[in-house]
């Protein structure tokens, strides 16, 4: 029988139990502090805490006393052709020093070009050039923060004809070259698979278990363009059944991992998020039970 826990995800990181956390929203600050539900971790976009002080830091400090934190960046533009923004990286460093988050992650995407920030996760062609740019920037981020980071696979609505490397191979190669781990966003795999017509199971099965340090789950929406439905990862609803199924299959293969329920638009009351988190925990737990039975 395979080891029950693959512990490679904790290399260089603080202890995060391999169970479920939620994205921290300002509308839940008080309810979380008052009720302190059992959660593996709270994840924030560090960009929302790059002010000097005020209520955001007060609440984050108070909550950091009860939960491990995960910093999930959206603004560093690791895939940008130009240099990383040193000021932004310095703000990142100050936050990491202040809060010592258990997990630190960013995206395979670009958002800044020629000094202008688009504040969106934009698609990259999967080429040797992109790989070299990303690997260099991930290494720079890891050096600046003094720790290993995780990078997340994107969702996309278009791709580029000269993308020579399959996306999953690209992610694995990036991890190998830069020494980072992968944040596997299963909703993104589903969304991109539907938009581009590839098999999400084949995509996921090519990712070595030992490279996966965290998993993301979220809801998505569909919009109609012409006579076709395009999936948009709007993080605005419950996790869909197809994504739960992929999650179940993935944790069965790779084992439990810190898992995040992301919900960023139309944010519901806390109990709805907690119910989603419990569902993810149940799936992870079921996997452990099935192993116990098999063992």
């Amino acid at each position: 029988m395979a080891p029950r826990h693959d512990t490679s995800f904790s290399r260089g990181m603080g202890p995060v139990p391999a169970s479920t956390g939620i994205g921290l929203k300002a509308s839940h600050y008080r309810a979380l502090l008052e009720t302190r539900p059992s959660l593996s971790f709270l994840e924030v976009h560090p960009e929302n805490y790059m002010g000097d002080g005020g209520p955001p830091h007060r609440y984050l400090e108070a909550l950091a006393g009860h939960y491990p934190l995960s910093f999930h960046g959206v603004g560093l533009s690791l895939g940008g052709a130009g240099p990383l923004d040193r000021d932004h990286l310095a703000r990142w460093r100050a936050l990491v020093d202040r809060y010592s988050p258990a997990l630190v992650s960013e995206h395979v995407a670009w958002s800044v070009h020629a000094g202008i920030a688009h504040h969106d996760l934009l698609p990259l062609p999967y080429t040797e050039e992109s790989l070299a740019v990303l690997a260099g920037h991930v290494a720079e981020m890891q050096d600046a923060l003094g720790r290993q980071v995780l990078v997340e696979n994107p969702s996309s609505y278009l791709r580029f004809a000269w993308s020579a490397i399959p996306e999953n191979d690209f992610m694995v190669e990036l991890a190998r070259r830069s020494g980072c781990l992968l944040l596997l966003d299963i909703n993104n795999v589903h969304v991109s698979a539907r938009n581009h017509g590839f098999d999400p199971r084949a995509w996921l099965s090519a990712i070595p278990a030992g490279l996966v340090g965290e998993v993301h789950l979220a809801g998505h929406a569909g919009i109609i363009v012409g006579d076709r439905e395009i999936l948009i990862d709007d993080h605005g609803s419950r996790v869909r059944d197809e994504v739960w199924l992929l999650y179940r299959e993935t944790v069965r293969r790779i084992g439990p991992r810190p898992t995040l329920i992301e919900w960023d638009t139309n944010v519901p009351d806390l109990p709805v998020l907690l119910a989603e988190a419990r569902h993810a925990d149940t799936i992870m737990h079921a996997r452990e039970q099935s192993h116990a039975l098999a063992g």
């Binding site: 130009g82 202008i116 990259l124 992109s130 919009i223």
Partner: protein, 259 residues
């Protein structure tokens, strides 16, 4: 095949364009839909994220002009003042000044002042924390050293002077259905401050406003009061200063160093 820099150059130009383009980019593939439609998804995401970010900072400004006009103004603003930071905290700093020169909003001369108040409110929200100076201690220091005392303003202090009763207009438009109101045409001087968790907006006299500005410039108390001596409110300055101390407007005191 485009280089990564070329691709990002062209993609950025499409995102920043005021109208969605008719074509995709070279090599762009989007199964089953025109590449221009896929590109438009990204463009719409970017534009609505900026408009939402501004609407979050400027809720009363938005209510005054309505959502459609606000989004139109936001689009024009982003074109003129693109974001240059990886965080949206601080985004919109130039929006009040932009509105002052924004021809379609010229019929609402008080709009830039409401926007200025809203930005300073948000700015104070994110300002550094600092414990205000103990009021008893500060009064004792002032009694003993009087005019030579220099006072450091709390890091959250922001000052706004407007030619309209901007505070009433702002407060009324934070509600869902503001009652019709007559905008008082007198100048107003405001202190925006967050001594603890909550941001407060307080009216001050013209004299009190001038004293705060002078203290912020590093002048000692005596000269700050002197500079305000002829302004409305000067007679009641001792009481107003006591109120400012109680509001937590100061964090440090030191004696003027003469050179």
């Amino acid at each position: 095949m485009l280089s990564l820099a070329e691709l990002q150059d062209q993609f950025s130009a499409c995102l920043q364009a005021s109208e969605p383009g008719q074509n995709g980019l070279e090599g762009m593939v989007a199964p089953g839909v025109p590449p221009s439609a896929s590109l438009a998804i990204y463009r719409n995401n970017v534009h609505s994220r900026f408009a939402d970010a501004l609407a979050d900072v400027f809720p009363a400004t938005r209510r005054i002009v309505d959502d459609a006009f606000f989004r139109f103004a936001a689009g024009c603003f982003v074109e003129a003042h693109p974001s240059r930071a990886g965080t949206l905290i601080g985004f919109g700093r130039e929006f009040p000044v932009f509105l002052r020169a924004f021809e379609p909003a010229a019929s609402l001369p008080y709009l830039p002042d409401v926007a200025a108040l809203e930005f300073l409110h948000r700015d104070a929200f994110h300002a550094a924390d600092a414990p205000p100076l103990d009021a008893g201690l500060l009064h004792a220091l002032a009694d003993r050293h009087g005019d030579a005392l220099c006072l450091t303003l709390h890091p959250s202090v922001r000052l706004l002077s407007a030619p309209f009763a901007v505070l009433d207009v702002w407060q009324a438009n934070l509600q869902d259905d503001p009652a019709p109101m007559t905008i008082a045409g007198h100048a107003e001087h405001l202190l925006i401050i967050r001594p603890d968790a909550d941001v407060h907006v307080r009216r001050v006299t013209e004299a009190g406003f001038a004293v705060l500005g002078a203290l912020g410039d590093g002048l000692p108390l005596g000269r700050s009061i002197e500079a305000a001596a002829s302004l409305p409110g000067a007679d009641a300055l001792p009481a107003e200063l006591a109120a400012l101390i109680a509001h937590g407007a100061f964090t440090h005191a030191h004696l003027e160093t003469r050179t």
